[in-house]
Amino acid sequence: MDFSKAYQFGRGFSFRRESFGGILYHYEGLRPDPRISFVDSPFLIALLERLDERPLEALIAAVAERFGLAPPQVAAVRGFFDTLEQRGALVERG
């Protein structure tokens, strides 16, 4: 995954904020993957909501600063986005 690029949700994926956090939805999410994932981490929600605003590296840095994330947490966030990209949830913004 190229973190210097901006990303957007792939086709069939969508994110919506809820009172408890947010929902990440994928229409092809037949088992074993769930069709919906509940996201209750405030910094992940902040990232997913602003996904296409700027390159991912800059976005993660801004959110890490805002939430005071330690380096291991930032590494975990990068891993999370890697996984999303591998599953087709994220595609480079055209």
């Binding site: 086709r11 069939g12 994926f13 969508s14 919506r16 904020r17 809820e18 009172s19 408890f20 956090g21 929902i23 990440l24 939805y25 229409y27 092809e28 037949l30 088992r31 074993p32 769930p34 919906i36 994932s37 509940f38 996201v39 209750d40 981490s41 992940l44 975990a76 966030v77 891993g79 999370f80 996984t83």
Partner: protein
């Protein structure tokens, strides 16, 4: 990080939203666009058929305006059904409109009769389509006994035409007393055609109310189904068998509670809104989209808020199995008993008690 984005309801806030308060908008809206159908299945939940009166149905222009409202509410998925949705005039145009408005999944329940090569190509070109083909038996005789002569051949013909298609598809199978022995054969059939099997619960709604006594699975068949679903976790259920979780063991795949008015709702052909497809009675009517915007009905309907978005009360409130069975299906309770504060009529703990069988794990304490 996976724990931060999982489908578990371990967070109290998530569990409360899903089980009690409801989401800001449905995940899925089921939309019966027409009650016209080329079949007349004996268990049809909406009593659809060739004779259906369509004069009060939403026009295509009205339906597109409803799509706009659902998109504005940030609904993820519309699940089109009927009747046979491909009989709704301008249905493909409606799908195109929904996709243009950003709905990321359009699911279609169909009997397959109108799915010719041209229609399949049209759907493939659209993308984001998820087809559910109804087939209530692995053999022609078993299926057609419920769905009418020729239904099996039509559905299997459609599956054959879809065999090399990229369209995500399931074979939908309503589990009944008559076809209960066909689970393995249905799984094999679905696999042969590149489809996932989806088993759903028979409910006493529409013509299903008339055929329920004849088709309702026996307690022994319910137990057998639970064991089979536990062993076949690749099989989908539309979250319709959570009441069987009271058998104990690990809960079946999917939600452990009813999502009506909390995660989903139903729109019928004339624009009336209900909690789910099995609650199409005056008692459950939440509003009409010709008079009230969708978001106002979802947020403000008294039946949604006072009946569904409340902690479980009544006989199930103190039961140890409530956490995993959700108290069962409100639609079945209301249809068979006229009440919502009783256990599901197919509650496995009640069945065991009535038959004098040994207490199940949830009764042990």
């Amino acid at each position: 990080m996976s724990s931060a984005a999982s489908a578990k309801l371990s967070s109290p806030a998530v569990a409360n939203a899903v089980r009690v308060e409801g989401l800001s908008a449905p995940i899925t809206v089921t939309w019966e666009v027409t009650n016209r159908c080329n079949l007349r299945c004996v268990h049809c939940l909406s009593a659809s058929g060739p004779e259906a009166d369509t004069r009060g149905d939403l026009t295509l222009a009205e339906a597109k305006a409803v799509v706009d409202q659902l998109a504005a509410a940030r609904v993820f998925q519309i699940h089109f059904g009927g009747g046979e949705p491909f009989l709704y005039p301008g249905f493909t145009d409606l799908l195109r409109h929904a996709q243009a408005r950003g709905l990321c999944c359009l699911c279609i329940s169909t009997n397959g009769a109108l799915l010719n090569a041209e229609k399949i190509a049209e759907l493939e070109a659209l993308g984001g389509i998820y087809l559910q083909l109804s087939l209530d038996g692995a053999t022609e005789a078993a299926c057609d006994a419920v769905r009418g002569a020729g239904a099996w051949r039509k559905a299997v013909g459609a599956l054959e035409r879809l065999r090399h298609s990229a369209i995500v598809r399931t074979v939908n199978f309503v589990y009944t007393r008559r076809n209960a022995g066909q689970l393995d054969a249905m799984l094999a059939l679905a696999g042969r055609y590149g489809a996932t099997l989806r088993v759903t619960r028979l409910k006493p709604s529409g013509r299903g109310a008339e055929s329920y006594a004849d088709l309702r699975p026996t307690p022994a068949q319910q137990a057998a189904l639970h064991a089979w679903l536990d062993a076949h976790r690749e099989v989908l259920t539309g979250d319709s068998f959570f009441h069987l979780n009271a058998f104990g063991g690990r809960p079946l795949q999917g939600f452990t509670t009813c999502g009506a008015a909390r995660l989903t709702c139903l729109i019928v052909p004339n624009g009336d809104v209900y909690p789910c497809a099995f609650t199409q009675t005056d008692f459950f009517r939440a509003g009409n989209l010709r008079q009230t915007p969708f978001e106002a009905i979802w947020a403000g309907s008294p039946v949604f808020n006072r009946v569904f978005r409340q902690p479980q009360g009544g006989a199930c409130a103190s039961c140890a199995a409530l956490e995993v069975c959700g108290g069962g299906c409100p639609a079945v309770k209301h249809a068979l008993t006229g009440r919502l504060d009783r256990p599901d009529p197919d509650c496995v703990l009640e069945s065991a008690a009535a038959e004098g069988r040994e207490a199940l794990p949830f009764c042990a304490g």
